[in-house]
């Protein structure tokens, strides 16, 4: 435990010594803020139009049920933010393993009493902590407004939980890419590609009517539909298992990358 805590402390110091951490944190907050205020502005315009003119068969001054903070602002912001995380999170994960390899400091790590499993777990844990912190920072504006707009704390917690799980899963994929290379550029490009590919396959399922099992498979590996369920305020065991599975498989692959290096050199 002493070793593990020493590693976690070192990872935190290295992470926050880099301007990249602050840049990504600032970008997440900025993007979330811009998205939120843009949707809020659009919502106010729609409200104004419904209140002042006859639209879509509604009489002037009548606002349809689906025009509310939750449907018009909160959910679209969360959807867009989830997708934007694909661009931002690999910028943090790219350096975690690749930088150690390019600097040769991984040899220092491997010759201490830290086991490869502890090294991988420590790096994953610190990265998870950082992305959850970033999500918390990005969540403040929408949460404050939506709490006043009628959405319950329980529902809000579910959305934040889903957003955090999404960020953690994307970070896991990024960490695996970083573990297999010494080039940060390769790591970030591979992470973007992999996260993008895994984001959503549900569009493919209508074309796979004759291959039902394949359709079920591509649907099952997609990240976005799982995240959307949380956004509805529903926490399902199968989604939790999915996100946990992404983390565990990523951990195993990153661990394999460390072991493979001992074999391949």
């Amino acid at each position: 435990m002493i070793r593990f805590l020493a590693l976690v402390r070192k990872e935190l110091l290295v992470l926050f010594a880099s301007p990249l951490a602050y840049i990504v944190l600032a970008l997440v907050v900025l993007v979330a803020g811009l998205l939120f205020f843009d949707h809020l502005r659009a919502y106010n315009q729609i409200l104004f139009l419904f209140q002042t003119s006859t639209m879509g068969g509604f009489e002037s001054g009548t606002i349809p049920d689906h025009v509310n903070l939750r449907e018009t602002v909160f959910f679209p912001v969360m959807e867009n933010l989830g997708f934007i995380l694909i661009g931002l999170i690999p910028m943090i994960t790219m350096r975690v393993f690749a930088e150690e390899r390019s600097r040769g400091t991984d040899e220092i790590l491997l010759t201490t009493r830290l086991s490869p499993g502890q090294i991988v777990a420590g790096k994953f844990l610190v990265t998870y902590g950082f992305v959850v912190l970033a999500m918390l920072a990005s969540f403040v504006y929408p949460a404050m407004a939506i709490l006043q707009g009628g959405i319950g704390v329980q529902h809000l917690s579910s959305v934040f939980f889903g957003l955090s799980l999404l960020a953690i899963s994307l970070a896991s994929i990024g960490l695996v890419c970083s573990a297999f290379t010494s080039s940060q550029f390769m790591a970030v490009v591979a992470s973007w590609a992999l996260c993008f590919v895994l984001w959503d396959w549900s569009w493919l399922t209508p074309f796979l009517r004759d291959a039902e099992s394949l359709a079920r498979f591509v649907d099952a590996i997609s990240i976005h539909p799982r995240y959307s369920v949380f956004a509805e305020g529903v926490v399902r065991l199968e989604d939790l298992i999915y996100f946990l599975g992404v983390c565990l498989v990523s951990y195993a692959l990153a661990r394999f990358a460390l072991d493979w290096r001992r074999v391949a050199g």
């Binding site: 600097r103 400091t105 201490t112 009493r113 074999v263």
Partner: protein
Amino acid sequence: MTEPKGQEAGSPAPVQGGGARVEARGLTRRFGPLVAVDDLSLTIAPGEALGLLGANGAGKTTFIRLVTGVLLPSGGDVLVDGHSPVRAPAEVCKRLGFVAETSRIYPDLRVRSFLRFAGGARDLAGAELERAVDATIERFHLEEVAKRWVGQLSKGYQQRVSLAQGFLHDPPLMIVDEPTSGLDPLQQEEVRAVLRELRGERTLILCTHDLSEARDLTERAAVLHRGRLVAHGPTSEVLGGADSLALFRGEAE
């Protein structure tokens, strides 16, 4: 002086104090068609200071990586106090202090933080860790730079920090890879002075291609050429010939 390939090379020097025993038996490492270490057998006695010599690409760093467990052997075995880095890496790491080349440290950490991490990663904690860090800072004359970022230090100081992290837990086996590479003559002398002071307290494997450094700091030398051990014995004898560079060309065979 020159030993045949694959045989036990030289009798171990007498024990000079504490230290770990390192034993390589038919150690081989291949990278595809390239044989980096070829059927190498070598015993390093506890307390011995061994200079591992050879030209670039001779297999010195690969041998070190096999002893530290960073690489797995393709054949043969290496044991540190009877423990294999493949089967019992924790036992080997417990006995090991490893000092890599200058650039292989964390530039984003302050010296004291880096040493705290190095100690913590070797199971030192609390007051014991602080004592070890303080003692190491004093021993390696790092007081002036203890609060500075490692990346801002001169190469000489960086190498002292690198040596300090390796010695922090007082290991019985110290492996130092080209400690003066890239340093100016003054910095080289500083680092050599530190190594001279520490010599004899533990087993030391000094990987270098600087012959004067090997003469100065080690009592035995092993010369590698294309992964094979071409000479092993007292440093004065191995490097005492008229053309010691011939060993680097593998001509002693």
